[in-house]
């Protein structure tokens, strides 16, 4: 019978106990005597969020294909169980074997958003692993980080033995082979780290030293020893057809946020939106073939029994063979009563036709992401969406029977003025107006336009990495401008405006462009009990500000400072393939309000072609 790390009595006391019992269909069990490497793969958030992540599913599948490795899953216990685990000294455990994480060879932690950093320390703490890599012994797991936040891992540097920079499919095998050999030969932890540092994409932070100028900016960042690479090259899959895909994903018992088969049609994006870190760092855009996608979709659906399939990418409309893919998928999906979801579509004639075909007579809402309220500001961020495209798309959608529209905006974008903020209300109103231009007898009731705004957070490796974030008070003022403007519109009754508090975004900005000196801050927050800071009900802005004050950290230095073009950044040791000249040039063009064509219109020399030469860079 399955073993359980938690007693029945505990399982009866907590919310959703099925989060913690493992044993889900398609989860992988192995015999400890058959394997030599135990890998604990952690998403540092609650189970339902972590189980929705495709990246973990890919690596779980890939590691478990290795005969010598057993990869298991770890998530953060919810706060009810966390309290019990501390009271009863129950160490954090992996779901499959229910064994303590401390017994593993590796603890891999995916870093998907900055606000999970306090959870990372929570995970180490509950697992009874020393927080600082320097304090770990031969008995502790190697703690390795991955995911988008490793494009600036520095605020977490002391807590990790290493980071994997880039796409996991490329050099993990090499790393695990070296580890197995070191383990067999009883090579010390320090020596293994040194060997690992030579694996492409592996960054061992303890082997580097950071020096700072008097003004607080970075002076130098250099390896401490000979033979340790100065630059870490981001690992990229050149052709996605070469890599495996998880066709038997684990099916959670409790409903996950993403409770469906996810089909990754593309990686990377051809658009050059200047605020978007994923759009920049996941270049070049690479597609899977229709044949391969249909095969993956059908086998995954058959292996899971899911009744929903979602196409995933940064911009699915840019998948060249989208119509052909839909043509091939729909007969199978209809026959088996499977729903197709197409998030991140650009609203135009083609996508509306596709949406009509997949939804039959049902009409949900359709979504635009203009990101900015005026054409001037959309040009600054290079959104590549003109007012004509928006109005044509909206008119077609209304004529096609849709009447609910969602609009996504950002506030606080570089060069934004109060007029741009008011433009959010005006654009929403213009869209509503298009609906009321349809003859009364042909429309049913009122349309509903929901505009929501988030706050712009400057991220490393984007053209806005030099830009300043605004003061949270200023953000609040701008949301009030939008709110008031929405109320004054002629179709105000059809408009809704949603916005969030700005302090969490501000803290995200501090961490996103932080350096090693912020590690003490994150640790201090952890010691005060901070965790689940990405959740509004647990995020405590006062605690963050107070801790900054106590440690004498100038948060504005990280968040609100406009950087000099020649400043050395804490993340500059990472070679993403983007040339700094390209980013600078894009930054200048942004300030001048000049747009830049996307990858299929014209190569703009971002640098990827020199380093990776795959996907869109080699298209005809």
């Amino acid at each position: 019978m399955r073993k359980s790390a938690l007693s029945d009595d505990i399982l009866l006391r907590i919310e959703k106990p099925a989060r913690y019992i493992g044993g889900e269909f398609n989860s992988v069990m192995k015999d400890l005597s058959d394997i030599s490497i135990r890998f604990a793969m952690c998403f540092p958030d609650v189970y339902e969020i972590g189980m929705s992540h495709l990246g973990i599913a890919i690596l779980y599948d890939m590691f478990n294909r290795r005969q010598d490795t057993w990869c298991e899953r770890v998530y953060c216990p919810w706060v009810d169980l966390e309290t019990i685990m501390r009271e009863e000294s129950i160490p954090l455990f992996a779901l499959e074997s229910q064994d303590p994480v401390k017994d593993f060879d590796f603890l891999g932690i995916t870093l998907q958003y900055e606000m999970c950093y306090t959870n990372v320390l929570q995970v180490l703490d509950l697992a009874d692993i020393p927080l600082h890599a320097a304090d770990r012994t031969e008995d502790d797991p190697i703690v390795i980080g991955g995911g988008p936040c490793t494009y600036n891992p520095e605020p977490l540097a002391p807590f990790f033995d290493m980071f994997y920079i880039g796409e996991g499919e490329v050099t993990y095998d090499q790393l695990l082979d070296i580890y197995r050999e070191c383990k067999q030969n009883r090579v010390s932890r320090a020596e293994f780290l040194r060997k690992a540092a030579s694996v492409p994409g592996i960054y061992v932070p303890s082997l580097y030293n950071a020096d700072y100028n008097d003004d607080g900016t970075l002076h130098s960042f250099v390896p401490l020893e000979d033979g340790i690479p100065e630059k870490i090259i981001r690992q990229v899959v050149t052709d996605p057809s070469d890599i495996c895909y998880p066709k038997r994903p684990v099916i959670p018992f409790v409903k996950a946020v993403q409770d469906r088969v996810v089909l990754e049609v593309m990686r990377g994006c051809i658009r050059g939106c200047r605020f978007c870190q994923a759009g920049m760092t996941y270049r070049p855009s690479r597609s899977r073939s229709v044949d391969e996608l249909v095969d993956i979709a059908v086998s995954s659906l058959e292996a899971t029994g899911y009744d929903e399939l979602s196409l995933s990418s940064l911009s699915t409309s840019d998948y060249k063979d989208l119509e052909q893919l839909i043509d091939r998928l729909l007969p199978y999906l209809h026959e088996h009563n499977i729903e197709l979801e197409l998030p991140s579509l650009r609203i135009d004639a083609v996508s509306l036709e596709i949406m009509k075909r997949i939804s039959g007579i049902k009409r949900g809402s359709f979504t635009f992401a203009p990101e900015a309220g005026t054409q001037r500001l959309r040009d600054v961020i290079n959104k590549g969406l003109s007012i004509e495209e928006i109005t044509t798309g909206a008119r077609l959608a209304f004529e096609g029977g849709w009447k609910r529209v969602k609009l996504y905006f950002m506030l606080g974008l570089p060069t934004e003025t109060d007029e741009d903020a008011e433009g959010i209300a005006a654009l929403s109103n213009d869209i509503a107006h298009l609906y009321y231009e349809i003859p009364k007898e042909e429309r049913i009731g009122r349309c509903q336009i929901t505009a929501s705004s988030s706050f712009f957070v400057p991220k490393p490796f984007t053209p806005f990495q030099w830009s300043a974030m605004l003061d949270p008070e200023d953000y609040h003022r701008r949301t009030m401008i939008v709110k008031d403007a929405v109320r004054r519109q002629t179709h105000a009754k059809s408009l809704r405006y949603q916005y969030h508090g700005s302090k969490m975004s501000y803290m995200e900005a501090v961490l996103a462009r932080g350096d090693r000196r912020l590690a003490d801050f994150i640790e201090a927050l952890h010691r005060k009990g901070a965790r689940y800071d990405a959740w509004t009900e647990f995020f405590d802005a006062d605690r963050w500000y107070q801790t900054f004050d106590e440690l004498g950290i100038d948060h504005a230095f990280y968040a609100m400072r406009e950087r000099d073009l020649d400043e050395l950044f804490p993340w500059d040791f990472i070679e993403t393939g983007l040339s700094k000249e390209y980013l600078k040039n894009e930054y200048r063009r942004a300030v001048d309000g000049k747009t830049t064509p996307h990858c299929r219109q014209q190569c703009t020399g971002c640098g990827m072609k020199q380093l990776y030469h795959g996907g869109v860079c080699v298209e005809d």
């Binding site: 009595d9 009866l12 099925a18 269909f25 409790v254 409903k255 029994g305 899911y306």
Partner: protein
Amino acid sequence: MKIRFKFAKTGVMRFVGHLDTVRYFQKALRRSGLKPAYSNGLSPHLLVTFASPLSVGMTTEGDYIDVVIDEERDVREILSMIRSQLSEGFSLSDAVELSDHAKTPMALLRAASYQITPNNVSEEVFKQCIANLDSFFSQSQINVSKKTKKGESIVDIRPMIYRLKPDESKTGIQMQIAAGSIRHLKPELVVETLMRFSGFEEPVNVLPPVFHYHRLDLYGIKGNSSEREVTDPAKLSPLLLLDIKEESC
């Protein structure tokens, strides 16, 4: 064709809640290679019906799921196709083909039987409870106060208890009580009342729980299934034996 499965949920899987269990079986059915039938309408859904939800923490060896498929197959084959899709802790003990006009298992349900074993209670207390079983059960009325929206009301639960006895090894209690949409009695309420009858404080919402509840079977009324009330417990029959399709050969 309509099939009724008898299923068990044991071990740590008893922490998988009812709705999650429903979704688990729906996915297993969709993976099995059978052709499941769907409802008509805008949002077609699988024709899968459970007899009765089971509380989180309880185990079962006698729950039922009715399924409709769009094909004719041997019941043994169907059983093995679904079994191959179940993970540890879930199992199917039996399956029967139902007649076309079979009622849903919820509509048929009149009673449930449980095995109750001590979990967090001293042996003496439990022995005392077992010793009092006969005198408890032979009462003509067992009045309990129930909290309702309007306040407290007194309910006689005796008519809803059909069978109550120690199990063969005298290490547990077995009971058959009313279940379903017409009259429903929670096994916990019987045990709490029995404890109070035996002179012990009733364990309301105590954690860890004092007893473990294991469902043994679910029952409907034999013969004329339109009978609403259970007047004669001898007429109760496991759901597995009701509305079965007549053998044509």
